[in-house]
């Protein structure tokens, strides 16, 4: 999955944020905050070819059923698309 903006992930004492650089600064107007699942997925996005790969990775890492994982991942990806990040 291709990221359209340059964002650097930082984890500060357990809290994860995305810091914009380059032209992303104009759109971001500050920071993006990720929850634990968002931080986990963010690292996988550049290599992931489809949502199924993300679902498989979440099922391997978390105790969650597939339907819930797919719903949460879809919501995350939709949010990124709305922000023009994905």
């Amino acid at each position: 999955m291709q990221l359209k903006k340059e964002l650097i992930k930082r984890t500060i004492s357990g809290d994860t944020v995305l810091v914009p650089i380059g032209s992303a600064v104009y759109d971001a107007n500050g920071l993006f905050v990720l929850n634990e699942l968002g931080g986990f997925l963010w690292d996988l996005l550049p290599q992931a070819e489809d949502i199924q790969q993300l679902v498989d990775a979440v099922l391997a890492e978390y105790e969650v059923d597939e339907a819930t994982a797919r719903r949460d991942i879809s919501a995350f990806l939709e949010a990124l698309e709305k922000l023009g990040i994905l």
């Binding site: 500060i12 380059g22 104009y26 905050v33």
Partner: protein, 366 residues
């Protein structure tokens, strides 16, 4: 004029967490004491001769290593300042390097150099915010105060940044040299649609002049209070101004507390979740204070930060300030005490007089 945007919740939260855990969330990097302006009240600007005697500026690589160490310790926010940081030929090596570390970088500048190639580079990769110091409302005032008639250029540069969508905030030092321009400066800020913060209190420049404790090219305390009130009258609606005067008068009449302990010397984030690195590589809680000092280049960043945190936590206000009835309306802090008197435990009488006059003027307005 824009009202000050509230700090994002995440930043407030990270600072609160950082205070509990001892994390340096924010750092100021004073890249140079050099400046193309020469303002009489500046606390840092040195002549080339003063600088030669005082030390050597850190290299870009040294700044980036300190930034890397600070980031690894938890720093998220970095402020590049000077002097005028853009006079450094390697400024963008430091700026871009810090951004690539995942830091939110803001820049303090006088705004005079934000043109041509420098502007192009910032347009391609903007800072989180520019904090631009404004020194007057016309070329004549700039020449009198800074030595260069730069007003038109700075105003045009600010307009270009705003047009590009870059965040700008203005800082104004109200001094005997520029106070006649106050109304014009306020109108400019409104026209440019930028937030502006102003102060008529000037710290004695003890970091560049060791004999300047309690001194400086500044107003008398009473005049400083008058100018501050003038600024409040401009920036607030009549209703807000009246409420502010009422609050000031009422708060200054509260009964003094009975206390056996003196108040903490620093109530802001300095030395708690933020640090200041001077141009020659020393760490301070904030740039106004000449001490406590730590040495990150020699001791390492983590050890220096620990030293500054502990030393700052130990600072106390003078006992007379703790029980003073004007405490609720007085901005006294350790930096004011030490720069006004040379000691942390001495009452800064300049500020006492300014606060007394502020309260008197507030009561007059009722």
């Amino acid at each position: 004029m824009k009202r000050t945007a509230p700090e994002p919740h995440i930043m407030t939260y990270l600072h609160q967490k950082g205070r509990a855990l001892g994390l340096p969330i924010a750092g100021t990097f004073e890249l140079t004491p050099r400046c193309n302006f020469n303002c009489p009240m500046c606390y840092i600007h040195m002549t080339p001769e003063q600088q030669r005697q005082a030390g050597i500026e850190l290299t870009a690589q040294q700044w980036l290593q300190l930034a890397r160490d600070a980031r690894d310790a938890g720093m998220l926010v970095a402020l590049l300042t000077g002097g005028e940081p853009l006079v450094r030929k390697d400024f963008f090596e430091i700026y871009s390097g810090m951004k690539k570390l995942g830091l939110m970088v803001s820049v303090n500048t006088n705004g005079s150099m934000l043109q041509g190639e420098i502007l192009e580079k910032f347009l391609a990769d903007p800072p989180a915010r520019f904090n631009i110091s404004l020194y007057g409302g016309c070329n004549e005032t700039y020449e009198k105060m800074c030595g260069l008639p730069m007003y038109d250029r700075v105003r045009s540069n600010i307009a270009n940044l705003r047009k590009a969508g870059i965040e700008v905030s203005l800082n104004l030092s109200i001094t005997p040299y520029n106070c006649q321009d106050l109304e014009k400066i306020f109108r400019d800020a409104m026209e440019l649609d930028v937030n502006i913060k102003a102060s008529s209190y000037m710290y004695p420049p003890v970091r560049v002049q060791e004999d300047s404790y309690g001194a400086g090219n500044r107003f008398t305390p009473c005049r400083s209070a008058e100018e501050s009130l003038r600024w409040d009258r401009l920036r607030f609606t009549p209703e807000e101004f009246k409420k502010r005067m009422e609050n000031t008068a009422a708060l200054a009449q509260l009964a003094p507390e009975c206390s056996t302990e003196t108040d903490p010397g620093v109530r802001c984030r300095a030395g708690s979740t933020s640090f200041w690195l001077t141009w020659d590589g020393k760490m301070l809680p904030c740039g106004m204070m000449p001490r406590p000092i730590a040495y990150p280049l020699e001791a390492g960043f983590a050890a220096a930060w620990e030293t500054i945190r502990n030393a700052t936590a130990a600072l106390r206000l003078p006992s007379a300030c703790t029980t003073c009835p004007k405490k609720p309306v007085c901005p006294v802090c350790a930096a004011v005490c030490v720069t006004e008197t040379g000691a942390f435990d001495q009452v800064p009488h300049y500020l006492c007089q300014q606060v007394e006059e502020t309260v008197r003027l507030a009561k007059e307005e009722l």
